[in-house]
Amino acid sequence: MPEHSPPVTARRSLSLFGAIVLGMALVGYLLGILKGYTEVPVSARRIDNSHLTARTNVQPAASYSAMHTSHFSPNSDRSSHLKDLKYQRPSRLDPVTRTHVMKLAAIADRAVNRAFDGAPPVIPHKIEQQSANSCLACHGQGMKLGERIATKISHPHFSSCTQCHVEATSSGPFETAGETPNSFVGLSRSGTRAFERAPPTIPHTTWLRDDCMSCHGTIARQGLRTTHPWFTNCTQCHAPSAALDQLSPQAAAVIDDADAALVNTPIITPR
């Protein structure tokens, strides 16, 4: 027998070995898929850490088969389709359609997340609990994905976000809050106009609202958007209120404004 020709038995066992390996891989794959589809409670899936040994802050990855139902991120409950995920930033020159009904709808929508006008809005999505900086990933410049809007931060020099903003619903793995009966009725305001068609005065404080475009820019609730985003000097026409902005009472006094009643008087007489 020539020395360089392998024996038949050796070749056979090689093929057999290959077949076994392939077979095992196939069985393993199928089992894996099957296992992936096993119904497990959401909470269990989120923290199935049993394969981890080292301490980590990272959420464990889901299996491929479970990926479409897995909870990866704070915003994972916002189901999106790829076609919607185009980065959208309307141009300043795009025409803006805004009606009175849309404006009221936007104000109502805005009120849902606030205890009163001037209260910091609650966060309508889950958040990363420990790092406030993650907020700025979306809210730093603002973004629009499909119908979802992440408004631009209106006070970029204050970015300790979770100091003032809390989740609307806890993302902690426990039962949600029951009823919290409270009869508080919050302040709500609208602006005034000197005459019909006059530019409205700014009906709210501009304190912590340095950037008008956060709420009135191209990435904003439709009903609150400015109809003329190409004019960028807002206070040219829209007057702020020294009273609402807690400037000095003297400054407030010279402004002929319906909000004059709101002058920040520091003292009342004891009753």
Binding site: N133, H157, C164, E175, T180, V185, R189, H228, I268
Partner: protein
């Protein structure tokens, strides 16, 4: 001038018409016809004519000022006060929602007496009479338990009622559980209590060291006052010395995870390095400091030691040795040592419950002061140690008004005859009326209230105002729930909502809350803050201060001699300009005058003896708080003090002294650099109970949650207590996030959901549970062991075990 106005008016008019025209052309031209009603409806309440007034926030010791918007007798909005130096217009999420604490549906509105086990509405007359008769029957067996949320006049009235009226020192506040160790730390180091510095440090520091203090969640406004400086391009180094990684850690440059209790060793290690490398400030030490050891047996004020003895004492705390105790690396310890050696950087140390709720609380307070004194990082803005408080008036009402079991107003003490004499004179009561024996501290007080009536020194009747001990005391079974075993014990609770404490109350008094009454608070930086009543309390709720005065008056009617002064007048005698007595015990007449102002002005007389001069009430009305000592200037204005003991800032420092500790315990104007040894905690993890258990707070809720859990936005954001557990430990025990687990210590058991890497992350072997949730009270498990000097219990470390609860 006229021309200019015309021009402006013309420009304004032109701009307006142009804009109007554009708005017309651009916005309305293409608008589709309007028809549908928008979601949420169109009838949102529009509320003009809101009246705004100042008040300090109701919650923590930061003392932010808010502007409260009131319309039609209801609070409708709260905003940050831009004129306030503390918060500069900012608030935290609790502060913005503070107005809602008044409007929870279950406010207490009528006095309730337990009759045959049932709480039954009764009249105020019956309630006041019931209390007065209980006290009159056995004044020695009555105790008053108050709070750092008492306003200054409330606490002052309660203190005068007890010490000046009943000759009893059985009064102590919940602040014993909160900052008593800071008090003993200041007294033993400087000879007088309270921070010498102020929040201006936060604007000036280069390095901030947080000693077991999750500033991002507990004092969020102070935290952003520091970290927002980075956004302005300033360099701020944040060092987080902590037992768990928190939101604060995420912003820190150095996160140093230490073993519980090892703060003692770490501070001593810094001292060792300063001495070993001779980088301590020889000049500062020689001019302004003495050295002091704990003494044998250890005492609050210790004993004098020489520099060599001091050096010898700290010599064992080498980085290598302390690394073993603390879990910090030698490099981390050396980093701290080098930092303190560097005089070019301004270092501020801040602490709160981590150092105070500590069985060696006084010791660790002494040591942190010591390393600042030793290194000369003391006295300049941004350079020094400063304790923080958790309650709005822990400083104002507890430390300054002296509502502790051994103190008198103005930083004086009952067992100093000279101090007692001053108080007796100011109160116009007979000499000797003030009892020289200190009363029970909080833990002992509740132990004596929960023990059988025939126990020596047992208490029978307890009156609780403005606090919730049924949830906040440690080891609740022993110190609170055992009360139920003794039907003859009588618990009176003044509060605004049903709480864990009212569960066992025999008499409940409905109280006014925050801006429903006049008030004065004193914040963490010696700032006294005043506000006026803005809305009426609901139903028949009444001010705590009135309640105390009314009981005192009823006691006088029943013949208790202590309720009269030397001249036979009512202890709380107040008269009008014509000399006619004002019936301030009559609620209908209570707000005819400003009782708060009168009590505050009476109290103000006490404050000059220890150089804690508070400002006159009318000056406080004008200001957003003033930091004492406040001293009148030649021109009639009043000047506040930013830095005590520092010449140029403190008016009581003699010229040319530089720094003068004019209340020094050694009488030589010097501060004490203490040595205190590392001591193991009384309970440590073992085989049976292998975990460390730490308790604390979260940003959404304030203390026991009685107020914040009634704010929908905050309750929804954090509805439940949880146990924070390390991922590895969870894997080992097969525990998943959200799963209910059982937590046990030698004192109690509690079931609650687990949260892995949630709000914060514990290292292996550690657990953390917040205490705000009245349905899951972690204080069933905590330890009542306390600091030998401050008597403050340690809520931060005990041994626990955990197991799964299989459903």
């Amino acid at each position: 001038m006229e021309n200019q106005t015309d021009r402006r008016a013309f420009l304004k008019a032109t701009a307006m018409s142009v804009a109007a025209g554009m708005a017309h052309d651009l916005s309305f031209a293409d608008a589709p016809p309007e028809s549908a009603t928008p979601p949420g409806g169109t009838d949102l309440p529009i509320l003009p004519n809101v009246e705004w007034n100042k008040a300090p926030c109701r919650f923590c010791g930061t003392g932010c000022h808010v502007q409260v918007g009131v319309r039609d007798g209801k609070v409708v909005a709260v905003t940050g006060d831009r004129q306030a130096a503390v918060n500069k217009g900012l608030l935290c999420v609790k502060g913005y929602h503070a107005g809602m604490i008044l409007y929870g549906k279950d406010r207490l509105t009528t006095p309730l007496l337990r009759k045959d086990g049932e709480l039954t509405p009764i009249s105020w007359e019956e309630a006041i009479d019931t209390i007065a008769r209980r006290i009159n029957a056995a004044p020695d067996r009555f105790a008053f338990y108050g709070s750092g949320q008492w306003t200054i006049p409330e606490g002052y009235a309660a203190n005068k009622f007890m010490k000046g009226g009943l000759s009893s020192n059985m009064i102590d506040p919940n602040a014993r559980l909160c900052m008593a160790s800071a008090v003993t730390g200041y007294i033993s180091t400087y000879g007088v209590d309270e921070p010498y510095n102020c929040f201006d440090d936060l604007d000036n520091l280069d390095v901030l060291i947080l000693w077991g203090n999750n500033l991002a969640e507990m004092h969020p406004v102070l935290f952003s006052r520091v970290v927002d400086r980075r956004l302005r391009g300033e360099e701020v180094t944040l060092i987080d010395l902590t037992t768990r990684e928190t939101r604060t850690s995420r912003q820190a440059d150095h996160v140093m995870i230490m073993q519980p209790q090892s703060d003692l060793a770490i501070a001593n290690c810094i001292a060792w390095q300063l001495l070993d490398s001779e980088t301590y400030s020889q000049e500062f030490v020689e001019k302004y400091c003495n050295f002091r050891g704990p003494g044998t047996p250890a005492s609050l004020k210790g004993e004098a030691i020489s520099f060599d003895q001091y050096k010898e004492a700290v010599s064992q705390y080498t980085p290598e040795y302390v690394s073993e105790i603390s879990g910090l690396s030698v490099e981390q310890l050396r980093l701290l040592g080098k930092l303190f050696a560097d005089r070019s950087k301004k270092i501020t140390s801040l602490w709160c419950m981590g150092m105070n709720q500590h069985t060696q609380g006084t010791a660790i307070n002494n040591l942190v002061h010591a390393i600042h004194l030793l290194s000369g990082h003391w006295g300049n803005p941004g350079d020094g140690p400063q304790s923080l408080t958790g309650q709005p008036s822990a400083c104002g009402t507890v430390r300054e008004v002296g509502t502790l079991a051994h103190t008198l107003p103005g930083g004086m003490v009952v067992n100093n005859p000279e101090h007692a004499g001053i108080a007796e004179d100011l109160w116009n009561i007979p000499a000797g009326r003030i009892n020289a024996t200190p009363g029970y501290h909080t833990v002992l007080m509740w132990e004596k209230f929960c023990s059988p009536p025939d126990t020596e020194g047992a208490l029978d009747t307890m009156w609780v105002q403005v606090t919730n001990p049924g949830q906040s005391l440690p080891n609740l079974q022993k110190l609170f729930l055992d009360k139920a075993k003794h039907p003859e014990k009588f618990l009176i609770v003044s509060d605004v909502y049903p709480t864990a404490t009212t569960e066992l109350a025999d008499l409940i008094l409905p109280s006014s809350l925050w801006v429903e009454k006049n008030g004065v608070f004193g914040n963490s930086e010696r700032r006294t803050q005043q506000w006026f009543r803005m809305v009426q309390p609901p139903g028949d709720a009444r001010d705590d201060c009135w309640q105390t005065i009314a009981v005192a008056h009823r006691l006088m009617e029943l013949g208790h001699p202590g309720m009269k002064d030397k001249d036979g007048r009512f202890l709380f005698h107040q008269q009008d300009a014509a000399g006619k007595e004002l019936p301030i015990w009559d609620w209908e007449r209570y707000y005819d005058q400003n009782v708060d102002e009168r009590l505050f002005e009476e109290y103000r007389q006490f404050t000059s003896y220890k150089h804690k001069n508070v400002a006159p009430y009318q000056e406080l009305v004008k200001a957003r708080g003033l930091r004492w000592p406040v001293v009148e200037q030649d021109d009639g204005t009043w000047r506040e003090t930013r830095y005590r003991f520092v010449e140029g800032s403190d008016p009581f420092v003699e010229k040319g002294k530089g720094i003068q500790f004019y209340h020094s315990t050694t009488g030589d104007d010097r501060a004490q650099i203490f040595f205190r040894p590392y001591v193991e905690p009384p309970e440590m993890p073992d085989e049976e109970y292998p975990f460390w258990l730490d308790t604390g707070r979260v940003i959404e809720h304030w203390h026991t949650g009685t107020m914040t859990m009634r704010i929908p936005q905050l309750k929804r954001a954090m509805p439940s207590a949880y146990v924070e557990i390390n991922c590895d430990d969870a894997v080992e025990f097969g525990i998943q996030s959200g799963e209910t687990v059982r937590l046990e210590t030698r004192r109690g058991t509690l079931e609650l959901p687990a949260w892995i890497d949630g709000r914060a992350s514990c290292p292996p072997g550690h657990l953390f549970v917040p205490f705000f949730d009245e349905t899951r009270m972690i204080n069933m498990l905590t330890l009542e062991a306390h600091c030998p000097f401050s008597k403050e219990p340690d809520y931060k470390k005990c041994a626990a075990r955990i197991s799964r609860v299989k459903v």
